[in-house]
Subunit: 155 residues, 2 copies
DNA sequence: CTATTATTGACTAAATAAGTCAAGAAATAG
DNA sequence: CTATTTCTTGACTTATTTAGTCAATAATAG
């Protein structure tokens, strides 16, 4: 499997957006996400662009624009996000063709495909909402999203 | 998690050795493993060296020398092999320190550590022997290991 | 019109993985 | 003891991937 910073940034960003949406109705700007999640904003642009193309995000240009989840945070799995950014998970040597060596499938082939399946399952079972809920929130609810901006550590 | 060609080569090589040992008593030479498993032999040297340093292999120099497993194939897990080559699996952004962002633990932190745990467990549960046994062997048992050499695709 | 914000694609830099090499040391067969 | 076989070592190069940058463009609210 592949799980790079880019994929982790993507998950952090999606969780950030999901969180902001859960407390306000506004669109979320790249630069705000970048600041909160400590992600280089020009890199984040690239990432959010892919998430949008994959229809996981909606974007609105212009003043008060930004990003929104395209569907409920309970309908987007971590696997959706990771696969969008990292591509299809594949641990095999042959790229899944089973032509590992001299046209034959090797034994570790199924070891790696089984591992893939395991990981995909793990990430598919968890929605953004699940992950958000897993957290003991660190700020009191009467504060606005803006006020607590610096405290949100959803990364 | 990290799982590169190097780690997969290592697993292939260990399975190859385990297999040869299960049919004969001889030490297994780098160049034979390299040929069967299609691994650049000078790269394989480097890999086997690490497996030896980690006491997963024993080596004997000189004519009829080569490598042997240091213990039973049922006592060496895939996790042992992968961790020896790839180092400790760590998917978190902070390197496990929980200082993800501004000194605070981020929410996805536990997502990634849980994923780590899951994968480690998966690989720990499988010994070399288990993986070998999972295979429907493709050659009849009356042939010698040497005769069937080219058919062994344990990769 | 102007300010704001996403969009695009091509670009560079840094890190990591993959692979090579040459010289050496150990063991053994003969 | 000598020639051959085989592992040992460490430094090296190259290729690939990841990470990050940038500048110009397009859309929209007010």
């Amino acid at each position: 499997m592949r799980l790079t910073k880019k994929g982790k940034y993507a998950v952090s960003a999606m969780l950030d957006i999901a969180f902001v949406q859960s407390t306000s109705n506004s669109y979320v700007k790249i630069c705000d996400i970048a600041e909160r999640q400590r992600i280089p904003s020009s890199y984040l642009e690239q990432i959010l662009r892919n998430l949008r193309k994959a229809d996981l995000l909606l974007a609105v240009t212009g003043p008060n624009g930004g990003y929104r989840l395209s569907k409920s945070s309970s309908d987007i799995s971590i696997a959706d996000v990771v696969q969008c950014i990292e591509g299809k998970i594949d641990s095999t040597r042959c790229g899944g063709t089973s032509n590992c060596i001299a046209g034959q499938e090797c034994l570790s082939h199924s070891l790696w495909t089984d591992l893939n399946t395991e990981m995909e399952l793990f990430l598919s079972k968890r929605s953004l909402e699940d992950v958000l809920k897993g957290r003991k929130v660190k700020f009191s609810s009467h504060k606005s999203a803006l006020e607590t901006k610096n405290m949100i550590v959803i990364g």
